[in-house]
Amino acid sequence: MSAKPAQLEQGGHARSANLWLEALYNLRHSPSALLGMTIIGALVVIAIAAPVFATHDPIKTMIGVPGETGRLPSKPPCIPLLGCEEPQHILGLDLNARDLYSRVIYGARTSLSVGVITISLSIIVGTALGITAGYVGGRADNVIMRLMDVVLAFPALLLAISIVTILGPGLTNALLGITITFIPQYARLSRASVLSIKEQEFVLAERALGASPWRIVLAHILPNAITPIIVQGTLGVGTAILDAAALSFLGLGAQPPTPEWGQILSESRNYLFTSPHLVFFPGIAIMITVLGFNLLGDGLRDALDPRLNRH
């Protein structure tokens, strides 16, 4: 109750702007959020500057290249860090004699963009649906939310697999499939926020002053509802990356020779017992990326939660 007068005085915008500044301030003191930001920052740099970091063309086979001495995965991996004197392939070659290190580096591009695009799309669609349901109410609310219930009733990966099978395997369709499974989360979150905000005095006052529904939604409801969505979205990027990797692993996502971590894993899994490093490194790359988003999401949640506010 104590927050109400402040909201009335400042309106939605000012309050959320303060909250964000405060959140940024709190984030500086959260080691997990800082670590998460560092990991994501480093990955973004690697993804953008992949040609600089990579030592070879990620889709070019090394067979027949003059001066090439790399060993195929049937032989033990040659890793310079472990004292092997064959410096041209840092993590060795994959089964098509391509440079594994360069493929993993380029994989950052695919995985990061899949994660971010998927979550952005599902936030846009989910929030639009949730706000409509919450603001309009009545039959629209009922129809939209029951539909969301049905989508949520399917285990996410299973639904994504079915959608990709219908649309055909490929990265874009995998992205669409995963997007659909994420929409209900954001619809539910934004609907709940709208329901709690739309009856508050500052919204009622705005309505009494004759503001259009669009203005009320965009200027007052959205800024107030966005906080939990951002937190959920940051955590969601990690899950989306895992789902995309899983689809590629099942052969439904990125297709060869695209360097995508799940796809590299899928190609190499039959060589697990002879060349485990082919499976190990792309998996570690997925784990570190997802970890980065999870740490940042957790930090954001703590920083934005007024109940945990220590100031």
Binding site: F154, P155, R269, V279, P282, I286, I288, D298
Partner: protein, 358 residues
Amino acid sequence: MLTFVLRRLTFSIPVIFGIMIVTFALARAIPGDPCLAVLGERATPEICEAFARRNGLDQPVPVQLLIYMRNFAGGDLGDSLRFHRPVMELLVERLPTTVELGCFALLFAISIGVPIGVLSAYRHKSALDVGTMIGANIGVSMPVFWLGLMLAYLFAVLLKDTPLALPPSGRLTPGANPQPFYALWGWVVEGQEPAGILVFFSRINTLNALLTLNGELLVDALRHLILPAVAVGTIPLAIIARMSRSSVLEVLSQDYVRTARAKGLREGKVVGVHALRNALLPVITVIGLNFGLVISGAVLTETIFSLTGVGRTLVDSITSRDYTLVQGFTVVIAAGFVLINMVVDIMYGYLDPRIRFN
């Protein structure tokens, strides 16, 4: 309480209807002609026409949906186009693998996740707490299929000749042919098919081993279960540990816990009786929600560990356009998901009267 259960039950019915319609539509939308997929590319139009008539595919789609719903209510899920056997029979044959895997995965997750979460909340900011949270964050971030492959490599290759070696595939050692409990107990008449429910339970190897008092079979089944169950259970474990930690932390700072301590109750009683009962409520919800994760995990893990469960069968059937099977399996899984969430809600209502009366 009864009104609450009934209200919750009526709420689930439209969702299950929705699931059936969506699954039906999804299965019909899978591209390609099922006739050509099943009978081969060289099937003539006449043969395909007969195939469509036999499988009811020549009827208008709404009629197909109605027939499907009527049959479903009677427990008939149709015949698999690929296996030429009733989908129900395949479900009875393959669901036990997934149920067993899922149960052991959840058992692993709960039996380790809850105590670790509670302990690290109790010892807030200790080395144990920090370690648990780092471990939980890493656990949530691991791809299930990668973890499965790495576990297989570790226990089947690196630890091959040690007592810790574990088999990387299958449910039992090849050649093992366990006697079902109903046969041992003489519950089945010679020359007659045993009831589906008996077959279902007898195919849960660990249960069958316990019922037939077969120690050797139990050890063999458990040894095969450990790796896939750990792979599937790790993400739920991390989530459950985090959830129980944060809810115990919240409860421990409440006034009534302070009161309990102030009036001189023993610490064990304060935490064990007063705090845990309330703290574990949200944990129950999380356990229910993890069912979806377990199913997704099972789809991937069954592929890696060569287990013929519903997950792997479903993925194979989607690619071979066996849509009666896809339809049947998906509806059963999704309906199971809805029912489990319903049971979780009812349990929640039972444990927390505020929910029941609102």
